[in-house]
Amino acid sequence: MSNHWITGGIPIPDIIEAQDLKKKFGDLIAVDGISFTVKKGEVFGFLGPNGAGKTSTMKIIACVSPRTSGTVQVFGRDPDIYPAEIKQRLGIVPQETNLDPDFTCYGNLFTYARYFDIPPDIAHRKAEELLEFVQLTEKRDVPVEKLSGGMKRRLILARALVNNPDLLILDEPTIGLDPQARHLIWERLKLLQAQGNTIVLTTHYLDEAARLCDRLVIMDNGKILVEGSPAGLVKEYGGNEIVEVEKSEEVLSCLLQKNIPFEVIGESVQVATGSSRDVARILFDTCSPNKILTRPATLEDVFLKLTGRKLRE
């Protein structure tokens, strides 16, 4: 067990520690022996294509789906044995919107707070405070059915905070939202992190991951492919910069001749490089390219490189 020690010698265990975690559904192996740790105060991301095992992993951590094998500790405790104690300290934003349609915005927060045994007066205060936090005070007494998609996601984020969680688990927090709503959620998450919250999230949006995560893993087929900081991963796997050229016979043969590694994606050719200027110059001088575009490498390049371009169901 890797512990952080603070003066006085009290060990703070990692928030999550998973070793060789496996989850099977019949013959399907959803999570295939992954190990990871999440430290206090960090934003940790799970990235991967559909069916990579991200949500299954989230559900194990959230104590709602028992693991098949391996070990996992949340706050130093086993989810199979202490689900109620762990869940008391978790805030969950699920992928699917599951607000209670029989209640208003306020009613949703208040009722949810009661599930955590929060006394009515404190639940009331917390609900009002959180409506403010996600900018829904004006919608306080509106039934949740009447809210837009973005408002519902914000309310779910607020609901996940009613118990002042020590760990926030977000499964696709900004799925299907417009840019305004996404930015508001990002801003709120940054604020929560600044207040010392630990956050674990899954996302398909690589810009979101790059923006929010201190550390992340990229998963595919139930396994962790790589782990690191967004910038570190880009540097290691994406090269610094990308040169994109329109595909032509000349360009292809020319790159082969010059021994420059490249990748063909549809009608364009991509070259990952440490120096886009040099590559661009070679191309201009000898390959007579049509269009050239140079840009910094992103997490998306790393993601596609590692998980391939084949569509997932």
């Binding site: 709602v64 689900p83 869940k87 008391q88 699917e96 919107t97 209670d100 029989d102 009661r114 955590f116």
Partner: protein, 263 residues
């Protein structure tokens, strides 16, 4: 690894009452819609069957016909309110509203959630009986104070039908297939459990069948003993039957639901 068996007694915490309370709050917020049906139901049965058929059938075994069916009206209402709450009502909350998923993300366990739903189904039966009792009293077809015992009996009977209903909810592939138990089990039971005519009019084999397997038979029998009143020692046997069946179905319902929802 904790092994969950279909017959193992589930661990339920006091948090189950939070789920019960949530349903109670929603029920009372829309109380006008919810209080009306039992009230109307009592009137309809009394007029259509009691006054209508009662004009020809003056009495059964020396009991005025309306007094004979009054306890059946209560028992059927107990059955219907609990059964429909824990089939269609629970299914909507589970499948369409995803309320159970939201609840088990809190310290509530799935066992707590289902137990809360069952307790709520039973409570709904109690509320319906409480609404119907004054109507029946107004018509002078039930006796007091023994008829007041219909209230605790409604809880037990309601819990039994909630448990049975929840078993169907746990195994139904979709909301439409819940029509099968309601048409093939609930409707026939409402007619053939000694409700509107005595069980003894039926072939002897069917009488055994009804006593052995139709839960409503026992509920009607006790209810009638309370409202006439005509208390006998057989009450204990009926009560024992209901308690055992209630325990079995509630336990199985919780385990089946766990199996369905926790994967």
């Amino acid at each position: 690894m904790i092994v969950h068996h279909i017959w193992s007694v589930p661990r339920i915490s006091r948090r189950a009452w939070k789920v019960w309370h949530r349903n109670l709050v929603v029920f009372f917020r829309t109380w006008k819609v919810n209080f009306f049906p039992p009230l109307i139901e009592a009137f309809l049965y009394l007029f259509a069957i009691g006054m209508g058929i009662g004009t020809y059938v003056k009495e059964i075994d020396g009991i005025p016909y309306v007094n004979f069916i009054a306890p059946a009206i209560l028992a059927i209402s107990v059955m219907n309110s609990a059964f429909f709450e824990c089939t269609y009502g629970s299914y909507v909350r589970m499948y369409y509203q995803k309320s159970f998923d939201a609840m088990i993300a809190t310290p509530l366990s799935i066992e707590d959630v289902i137990a809360g739903e069952l307790l709520w189904g039973a409570t709904r039966s109690v509320l319906y009986v409480i609404i119907m009792l004054p109507v029946l009293a107004l018509f002078g077809v039930i006796s007091f104070p023994t008829s007041l015992l219909a209230i605790p009996l409604a809880f037990l009977g309601g819990l039994m039908f909630s448990g049975i209903a929840m078993c169907f909810t746990a195994i139904t592939p979709g909301i439409d297939t819940l029509n099968y138990p309601s048409f093939l089990l609930i409707t026939p039971m409402a007619l053939f459990s000694g409700t509107f005519f005595p069980l003894t009019l039926l072939p002897i084999l069917f009488q055994y069948f009804a006593l052995a397997l139709l839960p409503l038979t026992h509920l009607v029998a006790i209810m009638r003993m309370l409202t006439l009143p005509a208390l006998t020692g057989v009450l204990v046997l009926h009560l024992a039957w209901i308690i055992i069946v209630t325990a079995i179905f509630c336990i199985v319902a919780i385990n089946l639901m766990r199996k369905r929802l926790i994967v």
